[in-house]
C-alpha cells in the first residue's frame, strides 16, 4: 500500500532525482556557493553605524538590553508583523469546531501516564521551566532574554506536559482563542494608544516606554507560548478534536 504513495513519505531512497540531474544541481550549487563564499570573504565589513545609533538612543528606549530595545521599540513593526505571522500559522492549524470548554482537560487515556520515570522527571522539569520562563521575561529589560525566549521556554514546558498524554488541549475553546490572539491585539492597541499621544503609530512616549514595553512583552510571551504549544499539540495529536480521538493515540 505504501508503494502507491508519493516518495515524499517513504524512506526507501535518499533522492528520486536521476544521477545526471543530481550532478547538474550539485555543480550549479557548488559554483553558486563558491561565488557567494568569495563575495562574502572579499567584502569589507561595513562600519557599525546602526550599533552606534542604537547605543546612542538606548537611553530613550525604556530598556537597557539593546536587543530588546531594537525588537520592541526601534523596530517594533518587525515584531508586530512577526506575531501576526505566528497568529496566521495558528489560525491555519486551528482544529475543527467542537464543544470543549477548557484549555487543558485530563485525558481519558491514563494508561501511559503511570510511567514513574517520566512523571517524576516532569514534576521537576515543568515548574522549573515556567519559573525560568518568567525569569527570562523579567530579565529581558536589562540583560539577554525577553519575550521570544520566555515564550519558547514556556511552550517547551507545555510540550513536556503534552508528552505525558495525561492532558488534552482544547484549542478551540474561548480561553485558548484569547491566549493566542492577546499578543497581537495588545500590541496593536498599544501602538494605537501611543500613536494618539505621540502622533506616530508605535512610537512610545519616552516616559512611559518601559511600562508599555513590559505590557507588550508579557502579552507577546503568552501568545508565542500558546501558539507554539498549539502547533506541537496539533502535530502530536494531543488536542481534543472529536469524541473518537481520545485514547486513539496510545
Amino acid at each position: 500500500m505504501f508503494r502507491e504513495m508519493s516518495p515524499s513519505f517513504t524512506d526507501t531512497h535518499a533522492s528520486t532525482l536521476p544521477r545526471v540531474a543530481r550532478v547538474l544541481v550539485a555543480s550549479v550549487i557548488t559554483a553558486g556557493g563558491a561565488a557567494l563564499l568569495l563575495a562574502t570573504l572579499r567584502t569589507d565589513k561595513a562600519p557599525p553605524e546602526l550599533a552606534v545609533l542604537v547605543s546612542e538612543q538606548l537611553a530613550t528606549s525604556g530598556v537597557e538590553n539593546p536587543v530588546t530595545a531594537v525588537l520592541l521599540n526601534f523596530r517594533s513593526y518587525d515584531t508586530l508583523l512577526e506575531i501576526a505571522v505566528l497568529l496566521i500559522v495558528a489560525i491555519a492549524m486551528q482544529p475543527h469546531a467542537s464543544s470543549q470548554p477548557r484549555i487543558v482537560a485530563p485525558s481519558t487515556n491514563n494508561e501511559s501516564a503511570t510511567n514513574l520515570v517520566l512523571t517524576s522527571l516532569l514534576r521537576w522539569l515543568i515548574p522549573l521551566s515556567v519559573l525560568v520562563g518568567g525569569y527570562l521575561l523579567w530579565t529581558g529589560a536589562y540583560a539577554p532574554g525577553g519575550a521570544f525566549q520566555a515564550g519558547a521556554v514556556l511552550a517547551a514546558a507545555g510540550v513536556a506536559l503534552a508528552l505525558t498524554e495525561r492532558y488534552q488541549f482544547g484549542w478551540q475553546s474561548a480561553g485558548a482563542q484569547w491566549l493566542i490572539s492577546a499578543g497581537l491585539a495588545i500590541f496593536i492597541a498599544t501602538g494605537i494608544v501611543s500613536g494618539m499621544v505621540t502622533g506616530t503609530f508605535l512610537q512610545y512616549p519616552v516616559t512611559y516606554a518601559a511600562t508599555l514595553i513590559l505590557v507588550v512583552e508579557i502579552a507577546a510571551t503568552v501568545s508565542i507560548a500558546a501558539i507554539l504549544l498549539q502547533l506541537f499539540t496539533r502535530l502530536a495529536r494531543a488536542d481534543v478534536t472529536s469524541p473518537h480521538t481520545s485514547g486513539a493515540s496510545s
Binding site: 508519493s6 544541481v25 556557493g33 563564499l37 565589513k45 550599533a51 542604537v54 512577526e82 507554539l228
Partner: protein
C-alpha cells in the same frame, strides 16, 4: 583571520549544502531539515556580520531572533500539511472508489 570571516564562510557553505538538500532529497522531512539547515547558514552569516571587535550590533540579532521563531512556526505548518496530505493519499489509496 578574525572569527567573523571564519563563521561567515562557514555559513555560506552550510547554506549551499542545505540548498542542495532541498532540491535533491525526496522525503519531506529531509527537505524540511534541509530548509532549516539553510536557515542556520543565513543566521550564521548575519550574526558574523554583527560581530565587531569593540561593539556588537544588536539589529541583526533582533532579525535573527525573529527569524528563528518564524522558522519554527513555518516548519510546524509544513509538517502538519505533510501529515494531512499523507492522510488524504492514504485514503485515496485504500478507498479508490471514492
Amino acid at each position: 583571520m578574525t572569527p567573523d570571516i571564519i563563521y561567515s564562510g562557514a555559513g555560506m557553505v552550510v547554506f549551499a549544502m542545505g540548498l542542495y538538500g532541498v532540491i535533491a532529497s525526496a522525503h519531506i522531512l529531509r527537505k524540511l531539515v534541509a530548509i532549516n539547515i539553510m536557515g542556520i547558514g543565513v543566521f550564521m552569516l548575519l550574526i558574523a556580520t554583527a560581530h565587531h571587535d569593540t561593539l556588537i550590533d544588536p539589529v541583526p540579532h533582533a532579525m535573527v531572533l525573529t527569524g528563528i521563531v518564524v522558522a519554527v512556526a513555518g516548519t510546524a505548518l509544513c509538517l502538519w500539511l505533510a501529515v494531512v496530505i499523507r492522510g488524504l493519499e492514504h485514503d485515496a489509496a485504500s478507498h479508490p472508489s471514492q
